[in-house]
């Protein structure tokens, strides 16, 4: 188990390094010069050149990367060109909002997703199954920012059940969590249902029945435990997407999370902030993949004790 972890951690670090290289390269060929934006309409060619020199933007790309990487290893992500605050501080603040939004919507997604998935599988081909699955497919199909706008108007403004924007306390996160969460609840429900159906055809399910166990014990301990493996994969990548994909929801509900920070930063070409942000998100994604692998081992002993091959 230990070398399994070490190998995965090393691979994770490699991935983060690769992502930092790719991001740095892309940000350098993205058109639009941050200094030009900084100086705005009053910029004259000489001042632009002078400022670029001061910020070290005139050095060759690889040198800039080495400086940046060197600082990063010391924990200094540099400071934002425009907000003049250390990138790490900005990321931590906005990550706080994103974590709250992501955890609410993820909790919603997992609970509803698993519940719908198991119910649909247990009542396979009955009306419950059909209704839940159409709802699930519907959940995936609607563009989440469109759903967000409609929720905001209907439940926020007209019915005044929930605040329409901001992020002060729990009630502020209800609508955004619904808008963001439905899509992932739907995908978890579908994968759970299919996985449960596939598992229920296995021989050990018949053995469980032959033992005369109670229904819910068969469903939960035997079917669900085995169905969990593919669900974990989807749930893992979904968490990654929620953490990074919530930018549209954040902009509609004015929650200054990481997604919105990144979109604005790219708009302003705030390179250190974008670079730091992408590293942060990549780090989160890689950590999630690690957790997913560990969860695999916890749920499936064939991996934990070696010997078994995990199907992709």
């Amino acid at each position: 188990m230990v070398n399994f972890l070490v190998r995965r951690v090393l691979q994770a670090l490699g991935v983060i390094l690769a992502i930092s290289l790719i991001t740095f390269f892309i940000l350098n060929i993205v058109p639009g010069d941050p200094v030009q934006i900084m100086l705005g309409d009053l910029a004259t060619p000489e001042t632009v050149a002078q400022v670029r020199a001061q910020m070290g933007l005139d050095k060759p790309v690889w040198l800039q990367y080495l400086n940046w990487a060197g600082n990063m290893l010391r924990g200094d992500f540099g400071s934002s060109y425009f907000q003049h605050r250390p990138v790490m501080e900005l990321l931590l603040v906005s990550f706080g909002y994103t974590i709250r939004l992501a955890s609410f919507s993820y909790l919603l997604a997992v609970t509803i997703g698993l519940a719908f998935g198991i119910l649909a599988a247990v009542f396979h081909n009955k009306w419950v199954d059909k209704v839940l699955m159409v709802l699930a497919v519907g959940g995936i199909s609607a563009p989440n920012f469109w759903v967000a706008i409609i929720l905001q108007i209907v439940f926020g403004l007209t019915l005044k059940w929930f605040p329409i924007s901001g992020a002060k306390d729990f009630s502020y996160y209800v609508l955004p969590a619904i808008a963001l969460g439905t899509r992932y609840a739907a995908s978890i429900a579908r994968i759970t249902r299919n996985s449960m159906l596939e598992v229920s055809k296995q021989d050990y399910m018949r053995t469980a029945e032959a033992k005369g166990l109670r229904d819910w014990l068969i469903v939960m301990r035997h079917a669900f435990r085995n169905a969990l493996i593919p669900v974990i994969t989807v749930a893992g990548t979904d968490l990654g997407n929620i953490l990074t994909g919530s930018m549209l929801i954040e902009s509609v509900f004015q929650i200054s999370g990481i997604g919105k920070l990144m979109v604005d930063a790219i708009g302003q070409r705030d390179l250190p902030l974008v670079q730091g942000g992408v590293m942060y998100i990549a780090f989160i994604c890689v950590v999630i993949y690690l957790i997913v692998d560990i969860l695999y081992a916890v749920v499936d002993p064939r991996i934990r004790l070696g010997g078994g091959t995990r199907s992709e």
């Binding site: 296995q202 053995t207 032959a210 033992k211 005369g212 109670r214 435990r225 085995n226 499936d300 004790l305």
Partner: protein
């Protein structure tokens, strides 16, 4: 007459599919006596596994349904029981082991968990007691180091050991009847013999009666007291094992016995029953075996024979034997 613990009368079960009603089990009757072993034999697809699943009511219920007959277990008709009552019998009254040991155990639960689960489903015992019982069962089925096995997972055991665990699991609540659905087919020969000996030993020690389903006439000969020969959902011959092997009457039975390769007879060619088992949705008019029967007559092609008793305890479904049991030569 030792008392009969399982009495199946005219059991019929069909699958209702879009190709119409498919009679998988067609008016099958048999009895299992206490402490004795009943064998059910036939080519695959003849309904022998389906019959055992009917007894346990484990067949897939949306397409399949019992359409007739009764299954009396200690006088109780299992076809009339509610799900809850049936659940109380499964594993306690009647236990079952299956053909594929590799996939019959839950891969993500430890052996110990799956054993204690069976015990605690039927008896209110403490965890410690259940654990002790489980360890005793592992030892009983002849597996060394029960503690280690208790804590390990299915993928760490060989096929033979897993089948032993299945047997331990089945017998953990001292059932009256153990149904074995081709328990050794997936195992190689040496392990096969050990498993069969184990079943016999446990049968004698615990007095459980056994219902052995197989397509291997050798297993029938060695293990069973009475034999039921099935073909395309129907019983074609029912007799004591000795009687069946000494006086095989139905052409299908003689064909089966003839196709057992024996070491001493010098035959170049194995004799084989030509043709194949008919599909349930293309059952022939008359006798179901007629297309493959060397003695087929016009009558066989038009009428379907009934079971007739040609000797005490020896029934055959074939026109060649009139009701008085004499063998008529064509």
């Amino acid at each position: 007459m030792s008392d009969i613990i399982l009495d199946v009368k005219d059991l019929s079960m069909s699958f209702f599919t879009d190709q119409g009603e498919l009679p998988a089990v067609n008016r099958v009757s048999f009895q299992v006596e206490k402490g004795r072993t009943l064998g059910i034999v036939g080519e695959s697809g003849c309904g022998k596994s389906m019959t055992s699943l009917c007894v346990m009511r484990l067949f897939p219920s949306p397409p399949g349904r019992i359409v007739g007959g009764s299954i009396l277990f200690h006088g109780q008709d299992l076809t009339k029981l509610s799900k809850k009552e049936m659940r109380a019998i499964r594993g306690k009254g009647i236990a079952m082991i299956f053909q594929e040991p590799m996939t019959s155990l839950n891969p993500v639960l430890t052996i110990g968990k799956q054993l204690t689960e069976a015990i605690m489903a039927h008896e209110t015992v403490s965890k410690a007691e259940a654990r002790a019982r489980a360890l005793h069962m592992i030892d009983l089925v002849g597996i060394p180091m029960p503690e280690k096995i208790y804590a390990s997972c299915p993928h760490q055991l060989s096929g033979g050991m897993r089948q032993r665990i299945m047997i331990a699991m089945a017998l953990s609540c001292k059932p009256d009847l153990l149904i074995c659905d081709e328990p050794t087919t997936a195992l190689d020969v040496t392990i096969q013999a050990q498993i069969l000996d184990l079943i016999n030993r446990l049968k004698n020690e615990t007095g459980t009666s056994v219902m052995m389903i197989t397509h291997d006439m050798g297993v029938i000969n060695e293990m069973t007291d009475t034999v039921l020969v099935m073909y395309a959902g129907q019983v074609v011959e029912y007799a004591a094992t000795g009687e069946l092997f000494s006086r095989p009457s139905h052409p299908y039975t003689t064909g089966l016995i003839a196709s057992i390769p024996s070491l001493d007879r010098e035959e170049e060619e194995l004799n084989v029953i030509p043709g194949a088992v008919p599909m349930l949705y293309e059952l022939p008019e008359g006798c179901l075996f007629c297309p493959r029967c060397p003695y087929a007559t016009d009558r066989c092609r038009k009428e379907r024979p009934e079971l007739s008793e040609i000797a005490p305890g020896h029934q055959v479904r074939c026109f060649r034997y009139s009701s008085d049991g004499k063998e008529e030569r064509p």
